[in-house]
Subunit: 473 residues, 2 copies
């Protein structure tokens, strides 16, 4: 192993292109659903990371698990990389075909296979998006709470162990995936877990595949927990004199055990961006955007407690979003903050951090990071799932400006080193991909990474499943 | 691989005894803390499973992580099995030294290493018991909710992915372990996870070790989530005309999303047993024992909702345990149900089932299992974490009576087959050990077990970590 590269440099790997015999086999089976068109390959060789486009050799649109198994079996026979693809919203270079190979596009696997409303479970194909899922189950009175900013696919969310604004109450994909259908690197189909709420039956393969970023197999069907739509929902915004005060209030809310459903920080820059994009007319100061779920009495009680805490830290009043339309407008704006931030600085790329620390250390790391960002002169904004101790500071760098990119990467590295020193993690929900491989070494240590490598080699001896991601082999 | 053995037969393995050179090295390092005394070895070669005592060759009492690493390094060098031992309360033969070797007794590793009350986390050594933990953190206003019947060690609970009566609200060890210190099969010390509440940093090694039953490494330090002691707690019992009605009421409570903290079923036999042992004077009919946590208003609201549901299913009144002493008395009786059941039938052994199914299928499997048990003529009782879809039917068989044992194992197997057909699991919280190895094959399928085997071989190439458990290699 070599020393980790600077994060702005794409690691170099040997290419393992798709040989003509394999391409023939794929075309035989998939017809026009197998393509080598450059534009399509380029579209599948990029994500929201700041790396250059790195296209696969071919794209196959799979519609069933057995089709995925066929592609993987071919790839295995020919020693060719397989990169599962949802909608391309990942942030860390997960989808880049650094060794060439085939992008397995799952975006046509969009069936809701089984809703078991009485058990609060649903089984979906990997290409179902979170918005589609909630739309299609609306009549059941249930919902699926995990909501990364993008309208990601459930497969992609499982692969990166995603979370979002509701995680403070409902957990992440780690807690909400019950069972999987997986195509292994051998091209075989296995099932992990069951629809039982808990189990002690052998190794927890479900949670091993969740967060494995496509490096151990392709998840094609996913069984999820659902939750009853809360009887009452209430959203509120509260402005604070500074980021510090908003964070201090959050910490106290969590430490008191208030079962708050969402607790999001936007700094003044983020508020400015969402105002500009969504015409919300919010006061452009740091704010918390919160939501409470429960019975009417419980929602009222939670809101009163939080209001009292916010007041202690200089939070000014509460503005309530009482109608569902107003709530939707606020949360849609929050989910679009990433793109709103980008649009404030046309032609920029975003270098986005994702540290997560124990809640008592959150104020410390945000303070230091804000000071560094201010000193750098780079435009930036902060949004954060602060109830979980997780926040994103996005540095906006001019596309192609190597000096700005290097500054942003240096600041990002400083923040990660701080997070690790504070017993946190370099990534709360985005994953490692290519961009955080060096950070993972610092965080997990070589012994733990060796264990990960051993598992990877055992389950994917040919190193065909999304090779070159998470760690160097 | 051969066909699975009947569950009453202990699998046969080659013995791999501790050679004299290794014994000398252990004695040099540990002095009197290394013992080959037959009585001590026998005590470490049994658990609460119905198998005969199968002692290790030696027992080493470790007091620190580096001591565990020393024993494992020795074992690795000599190809000798290592069996981690807490307090011996497991139910499935986990602790039996089927190939000989060294029992690593962790019961002296009882330090609470760090309480981070402001982050709701604690780090403990593996030998801390759940009761010790809650006693020592009482002043913080926090508690650790996971409570298997026995006063098990946190290490043993993590190793079997244990849960208990609070899991319906607070989850299991799967959801409540944040980070681990593990001695690997190579005798190296690694850390997994961090104190951050969520993370997407690489493979989820923490959850791979949780539930791995000592077969992948020895967990020596465990970081857990804690919870604020609820402002208000209220416990109630409610009697039902039959088990069916109690289960039907439970299903409705769960489907309505009531955040009930505990929801336990006792059948009339179980009530009779706890009455006899704890002089509770409970009416000897099927009953639910429930607990509600929250603010005073929320507890009241939950209790009213549940009371209305229970009434629909013939539940008669609610008897409230209003004082902490009364509550403790009830829950202590519940936790002792296993021993109370055994004492009703002196000289018996228990064959205990642990199936867990999606909540909508719970009534079906309990009905069928009760009919089978009644028809068999064997004494039995049922206790169940029915809010999770998990219940235990314990058949009481006369010690040494092969015919009764065979009957109990046949009924157990029928129940597991039913649970699997209903999309459930053979074990909600006890683990596989030796006793459920055949069931795991039926449940997970050979493809998933092959993946588990590959991981085992990768992380423990010498097969020294608690060999012969979970699956045949």
């Amino acid at each position: 192993m070599n020393a980790p590269l600077p994060n702005e440099v794409l690691p170099r790997y040997e290419r393992r292109p798709v040989p003509p015999a394999m391409l023939d086999a794929l075309r035989d089976r998939f017809g026009e659903r197998c393509s080598t068109a450059p534009a399509l390959c380029e579209q599948h060789g990029r994500d929201e990371s700041p790396y250059p486009v790195t296209p696969p050799d071919a794209v196959v649109f799979c519609e069933r698990t057995d089709e995925v198994a066929f592609v993987v079996a071919q790839a295995r026979a020919h020693g060719v990389p397989v990169i599962p693809f949802g909608i391309g919203s990942s942030l860390e270079g997960h989808l880049l075909a650094v060794q060439g190979g085939v992008s397995v596009d799952l975006s046509r696997m969009t069936r809701i296979l089984r809703v078991n409303a009485e058990d609060l479970t649903v089984t979906v194909e990997a290409g179902v998006t979170r918005e589609q899922l909630n739309r299609e189950i609306r009549d059941t009175g249930l919902f699926f709470p995990i909501d990364p900013g993008a309208n990601a696919t459930i497969g992609g969310m499982a692969a990166t162990r995603a979370s979002g604004t509701n995680a403070v109450r409902y957990g992440t994909m780690r807690e909400n995936v019950l069972a999987l259908t997986v195509v292994t690197a051998a091209g075989e189909v296995i099932r992990t877990g069951s629809r039982a709420k808990k189990s002690s039956a052998g190794y927890d393969l479900t949670r091993l595949f969740v967060g494995s970023e496509g490096t151990l197999g392709v998840m094609t069907e996913i069984t999820l927990k659902l939750y009853p739509l809360p009887e009452a929902v209430s959203a509120a915004i509260c402005h604070f004199p500074g980021v510090q005060q908003a964070v201090a209030a959050t910490i106290q809310v969590i430490q008191m055990g208030v079962p708050i459903a969402r607790c999001e920080l936007l700094d003044a820059n983020a508020v400015r961006a969402v105002n500009a994009q969504s015409r919300l007319g919010l006061r452009e100061t740091p704010m918390l955007l919160m939501e409470f779920h429960g019975s009417p009495a419980s929602v009222q009680e939670q809101a009163e407690t939080v209001q009292a805490i916010a007041a202690e830290f200089g939070g000014e009043g509460f503005e309530w979003a009482s109608t569902p339309e107003e709530r939707t407008r606020l949360w849609t704006a929050r989910h679009k903050a990433y793109f709103a931030g980008m649009q404030m600085n046309p032609g920029c790329r975003s270098v986005t951090t994702d540290t997560c620390v124990p809640i008592s250390r959150l104020a410390e790391i945000i303070d230091a990071s804000v000071a560094d960002a201010d000193a750098s002169g780079l435009p930036y904004y902060i949004v954060g799932h602060v109830g979980d101790g997780n926040f994103h500071l996005a540095y906006l760098v001019a596309e192609g400006d190597a000096a700005e990119r290097a500054t942003a990467e240096r600041l990002s590295m400083q923040m990660v080193q701080r997070a690790i020193a504070l017993e946190g993690t370099c990534t709360g929900e985005h994953g490692i991909g290519l961009h955080k491989m060096g950070f993972l070494v610092d965080e997990a240590g070589s012994g733990a990474i060796d264990a990960m490598r051993a598992i990877k080699r055992a389950l994917d001896p040919g190193n065909i499943m999304n090779p070159g991601k998470i760690f160097a082999l």
